[in-house]
């Protein structure tokens, strides 16, 4: 694991240990160095003292070249096992006596060296002047001591340093482990709370606060943030609930309105139906008795009287047609739908044949695409096609080359049926009036009609769940689109 991915606990402990380890190491190094330096100084001054005592004792031996005495004096060195070798040089640098009596050659320099005490080749060596009185130099004393004492001291202080270091590091580790919690515990608690809050989306959690230091401030801010989030979440929920309530209220109201509307509509339909139905009987009387009057008493009437009667008959017949259409419209909304597969192309061809039979003197070109089919009530769909094709036939009456098409296009994944003519057309600003009851864009003298047909068509299309709309340009034709 990379150091930066270590948990904070371990990082803190590691930092504390590193620092205390470094400090201890430097301190120990300083301690050992001080020990060694002072110890070297100590043994050097010890050697110097010993040398001076020996030198003072050996003055006479040197002065009077008494070898035996000199050897005896040097022989006292045997009581100190660290003393390796010694020698007395006379004034001329000649060796008078040595210790041990028969030393190995490399231990005793052939001639005295400058006075002083120094570490040399693993030994501490000293050259001390031997003098009696003030400035009477008699010769030189040489003593070599091994440095085992130094290395012993080094080893001892090293062992002490290592033991102290180990104990101190253990103590430091224990303290670090105990104290790092002061810093890491709030951080860990904060991290735990943050994780819990984000995974469970529970914003009612609060991180425990340990003190008023920066971490305490951080924890406080974090808790405040959680509180704010919680409040906002609650507000949001309240808003959502209120919105849902309002939607439900509106929906209920709309449903109620729809029901009301439906009730009003069916009432209206029923009214229209009964009115139309009831109107037919008196109308038939008017027409029938007008016919009787014309046939039985026509000879007794003058031309003006017969013409008036003719007009009464024509008006009552037109009224009958109007009533029939109204009844048809009412029936469309009242009859039950029977859905089946309908061959629209075949149905259109039958209607065209029927139209051409009633007016064989008009030449209108009908173009009917083959294979158009739809799902729906065949009786009602026949009313739709009959109305649209008959309209096309009717409004192309003033066209030199009249033409009516029945096709279909696929648009946005749905099928759109199209009935198109090149007749009188209409102004697009009246497009929304096209499908209203009794709405007519042309006068009855121009093109005859009751103004109920397209209203009926729209009702049927709506009952099928479809949509109908029209486009037109004056004198260039109209196009009707519908879906089912």
């Amino acid at each position: 694991m990379a150091i930066r991915d270590w948990p904070i606990k371990r990082k803190l402990t590691a930092i504390l240990l590193l620092i205390s380890g470094l400090v201890l190491l430097l301190t120990s190094a300083a301690f050992v160095t001080y020990e060694i330096v002072t110890f070297r100084q100590t043994i050097r001054s010890q050697l110097a003292t010993r040398s001076r005592i020996l030198a003072a004792n050996s003055t006479a031996a040197l002065a009077f070249a008494n070898e035996a005495d000199a050897r005896e004096i040097l022989g006292a060195l045997k009581y100190d096992p660290h003393m390796v070798a010694a020698a007395l040089y006379d004034r001329n640098g000649r060796i008078l006596a040595t210790y041990p009596a028969a030393p190995s050659a490399d231990l005793i320099p052939a001639a005295p060296q400058p006075d002083g005490y120094r570490f040399e080749g693993g030994h501490l060596v000293g050259f001390t002047p031997v003098a009696q009185g003030e400035n009477q130099r008699l010769g030189t004393l040489y003593i070599a001591s091994d440095t085992k004492a130094v290395s012993d001291a080094l080893r001892l202080s090293g062992v002490i340093a290592i033991v102290v270091l180990a104990i101190a590091m253990l103590a430091a580790y224990a303290l670090a482990a105990a104290l790092q919690g002061r810093i890491s515990a709030p951080i860990l608690a904060l991290a735990e709370t943050a994780t819990a809050a984000s995974t469970r989306q529970d914003y009612s959690l609060r991180a425990p606060k340990f003190g008023h230091d920066e971490l305490g401030v951080l924890t406080g801010s974090f808790n405040q943030m959680l509180g704010r989030i919680e409040e906002q979440k609650q507000e949001l929920q309240q808003h959502a609930t209120r919105l849902e309530q309002r939607v439900a209220e509106r929906t209920k109201e709309l449903e109620r309105r729809a029901l009301e509307l439906q009730a009003a509509n069916s009432e209206l339909d029923a009214f229209a139906y009964s009115v139309s139905h009831d109107l037919r009987a008196p109308l038939r009387s008017i027409d029938g008795f007008s016919q009787v009057l014309l046939e039985d008493y026509g000879a007794q009437l003058d031309e003006g009287g017969r013409d008036s009667l003719q007009r009464v008959r024509a008006a009552s017949q037109r009224m009958a047609t109007l009533i029939d259409d109204l009844l048809k419209l009412a029936r469309v909304t009242r009859t039950e739908m029977r859905t089946e597969r309908v061959d629209l192309s075949g149905m259109a061809r039958e209607i065209v044949l029927d139209i051409q039979r009633t007016a064989p003197d008009r030449q209108v070109e009908f173009a009917i695409a083959p294979g158009l089919e739809a799902q729906g009530d065949s009786r009602l769909l026949r009313v739709v096609l009959d109305n649209l094709l008959r309209n096309g036939w009717k409004y192309t009456g003033k066209q030199a080359q009249p033409r009516v098409e029945f096709t279909a296009v696929d648009e946005n994944g749905g099928r759109v049926f199209v009935v198109k003519d090149n007749g009188a057309g209409f102004d697009m600003k009246y497009a929304d009036k096209l499908f209203g009851v009794f709405q007519r864009l042309h006068s009855i003298t121009e093109f005859e009609g009751t103004g109920v047909g397209l209203a009926t068509v729209r009702r049927i299309i709506n009952r099928h769940g479809g949509r109908i709309w029209a486009e037109g340009i004056v004198d260039q034709g109209a196009t009707f689109y519908f879906t089912l």
């Binding site: 006479a60 009077f64 005793i108 052939a110 009696q132 009477q136």
Partner: protein, 174 residues
């Protein structure tokens, strides 16, 4: 072993010349190991010299003069005097009696008796005759024999260090 052989070589080289060379050094070194009783003149200015006298034929040649040249005891310069007759002897501190005076030793010692003079000689039996220090040769080495009674009689104090390296004798009782 090389060192040992070189040591032997040093001691073995020209015994006759080095004998008096060594004795001259010894004579000079006595100055350091012997205390003379305070004298009336020692504090005067300039300080009186410390005198080493030679009575009779001088066996040292230039060695003694070379040895003491420029040397002092405290503020006192050390000087060498040579005497032919007993009467010539002045207030000297060390008197070396040459072998040439062997016949007259008793007379000479009598002349300096009770005076703080360190008498030295390499004549046989000098110490037992009442002389203070006698050089003698033992196993080819020059040794020192000291007559402590004579030294005490002369009111001289001899350092114990010197006594350590010397052979101490007493004046035989008559």
């Amino acid at each position: 072993m090389a060192l040992m052989s070189s040591l032997l070589l040093v001691q073995g080289e020209s015994p006759r010349t080095s004998e008096y060379q060594l004795k001259a050094v010894f004579l000079f070194n006595f100055v350091q190991f012997v205390d003379w009783p305070p004298s009336a003149t020692q504090d005067s200015q300039p300080p009186p010299p410390l005198l080493i006298g030679i009575l009779g034929d001088d066996p040292f040649g230039a060695f003694l003069d070379e040895t003491v040249r420029g040397e002092r005891l405290g503020a006192r310069p050390i000087q060498v005097r040579r005497y032919r007759r007993i009467a010539d002897i002045e207030e000297c501190n060390i008197l070396f009696i040459s072998r040439s005076e062997n016949e007259r030793v008793a007379e000479i010692l009598a002349a300096v008796k009770n005076r703080p003079v360190l008498t030295v000689s390499d004549g046989d039996g000098f110490a037992s005759q009442g002389g203070i220090i006698q050089f003698f040769t033992d196993k080819n080495r020059i040794r020192i024999r000291i007559n402590l009674d004579a030294a005490e009689a002369a009111k001289l104090t001899i350092s114990s260090k010197l006594l350590r390296v010397a052979e101490v004798v007493r004046t035989p009782r008559r």
